[in-house]
Amino acid sequence: MTKKIEAIIREEALQDVKDALREVGIVGLNVHEVHGHGRQGGIELSWRGTAYQMDLLPKIQINIVLSDHNVERTIDTIIKVTRTGKEGDGLIFVYPVEDVIRIRTGERGREALQYKDDIDEKTKSPSR
C-alpha cells in the first residue's frame, strides 16, 4: 500500500525538513506555497496606521508519496525538526494513494517509488 503525506509547515522550517528527510532516505518530494490559518487565526499588522488581520499566513505544504511502512518514521522526522511548541507549527495529513505510475518506465505501485539509497535501502528492511 502507498500513502501520501501532506505536511503543512512553517516556511522557515523547509530547509531543515528537506535535510532531515534526505538523511532518512525520503528521496522524492514536492512542495507548494500555500496560505492559510488554523486555530490561531492569523496575525495583526498595520498599513499606514490602519490595523488589519493577516489571516492567510504563508506556509509550505510538503507532499510525499511513500510505502505505508515508512509513514511513521517520516512523520517523526518531520515533527522532530518542525516542532517549536508555539502556535503555527502546522499539521500533517496522511491519505491512502490508489496507484502511482512512473511516466518514464511505466512502473506502477511501490516499484514506481523505489530509488537508489531510499528509505527502504537505508533501513535495510526486506523489500516486500
Binding site: E44, L45, S46, W47, R48, G49, T50, A51, Y52
Partner: protein, 530 residues
Amino acid sequence: MKLRKHFWIPALVLAMLLATTGAVLAQDTPDAAAVAATASDTATSVNILWVMLASFLVFFMQAGFALVETGFTRAKNVAHTMMMNLMVFCIGALGYWLVGFALQFGAVNHTYADINNMGAWAFSPISMGDWTGVLDTGVILNGQWGVMGLSGFMLAGLTANFGVLAFFMFQMVFMDTAATIPTGSMAERLNFKGFILMGLWVSMFIYPVVGMWVWGGGWLANLGRTMGWGNGAVDFAGSGVVHMIGGVTAFIGAIVIGPRIGRFNKNGTANAIPGHNIPMGILGTIILFFGWFGFNPGSALGFTGAFRNLAVLAAVNTLLAGAIGGIVAMLVMWWFGPSKRPDPAMSVNGVLAGLVAITAPCAFVDTWAAVVIGGIAGVLVVLATFALEKMRIDDPVGAAPVHMVNGMWGVLAVGIFANGNPDTAAWNGVPTPVTGLLYGSSTQILAQLAEVGAIFVTVFVLGFVFFKIVNAIGWLRAKPNDELVGLDLPEMGAPGYTTDDVVMHGGMLGGRMRGSTSPVRATSTAGAQR
C-alpha cells in the same frame, strides 16, 4: 594601424589649442565694460545651467511618484497607476506649453518691471538673461493685483530666448509635480478618461492661474506692496503653489470620487488595503528625495551670488527636514501605532511630509528651524492620515496628508521661522528681507495665511465643480466590476505583471516564445537535463 586610425585626435586637440591661444592673443586689452559684460554673461550661463540641471532632477521625480503610487496600491492596478504617471507628464507638458505657461508667467515682466529696476531679487528674469519686451501682458487689476498672464502661448516668438526656454523647462516639470499628486489619491478607481481631463485641468488652468498669484507677479505676491504684509506671499519652491494645489486637488478628487469598494464598512470602521510592493514605495521615495534637491535648491533660479547662497542653504535644509520627517513619523507609529512597529508605509509618508513642509521655507530659515519644521510635519502627516480615515475619505497613498496638510504647514512656517537673511532683501519688491514672527515681523504671517486661504478655497471650490462635471458625464469613476477585477485588464487592456510564463507563454521551456509547438522538442533540449 591603430595609431594611424586615431592620430587625428591629438591633432584636433592641438589645433583647438592653437586656435584658442591665437584668439586670446589677437584680442586687444579689454575695457572694463567688456569685462563686466563677459562676467555677467558667465553668471547668466551658470544660472541657466543650474536651472536646467535642476529641471532634469525635478523631471526624475515623476519616476518617484510612479513608484510610490504603484507600490502603495494593489497588483491588479499596476498598469493603470503606472500609465497615469506616464501620461500625466505627456499630457501636462503639451497643456502647459499650449496655455499653462502663458497664464502663469505671461505677465511676469509687467508686474516685476519696477523690481527689475531695483536690481534686486524676485521671481524675475534678472538671473536668467535679457527678457526685455516679453511676457508682459495679463489681467492685472489696479496695477498690482495680478490675476493671470496672457502672453507666451505656445512659446510663440520666444524660441530664441534661452532664458525663457530654461524657465519654461523648470516651470513645466514643477507643474507636472502638482498634476501627478491627485493620481495617487484617486488611484485604483479613477476612469482613465477622467484622468486625462484631470491632467488637462491641472496643467492648463488651475495650476497656472493659482500659481501666477504667487510666482507670476500676482496679487498674493504683491500683498507686501499693496497691504504692507511683509514681503507678500513668499513660497520659495512651492509648498503652496505646487504641493497645496496638487494636494487640495487630490483631496477634493478623493471626496467626489468616493472610497474604493471595501475601504469602509457599513458601521464606519475602516479596512486597510495594503499596497502590493513596499520596496517599490521606498525606492520611489528615495528617488523623490533625490529629485527634491533640484526642486528646492533649483528654485533659487541661479547659482551666482545671492542665488548660490540660497540654493546651498535650501539643499541642506531639504536634507534635514526630509530626514527628520521620516524619523518622527516612524517613531510615532512605533510608539502609538496599531502594530507598535516602525510602519514602513507611514515612514515613507513622513519623509515626503518633511520634504513638502520645507519646500516653501527652505531658503529662509536656519538649519535648526528646518529640523523643527520637518519634525512637526512628521506628526502632522500621521494625524492627518487618521483624520481622513475618520472622515471616511479614501486616499490610497496619503496624497492629501502629505501634500495638502504639509503644504499648508510649509507656507505658514515661512511666516514663523524666516530669519531675515539679507540675501532675501527686496523679495517681491519689498526692500526688507523676509522675516517671520520669531525674528520680529508680525505681518509676514498674514501674507502666508492669505496664500494658504486663497489656494485652499480656490482649488477646493473650482476642483469640486470640475470633478462634479467629470462625474456628470460619467468619466470620473471606473465601473464597479472593473474596480473589483482590477483596472489593468478592463481599462488598460494589458496586465501589469506578465512574468508568469506558464500563463502567458505556455511554460518557460517551451511554448510560443521558443517558437515550438511540440512539448517533445522542449523536453529534448533543456528538459532532459533536469
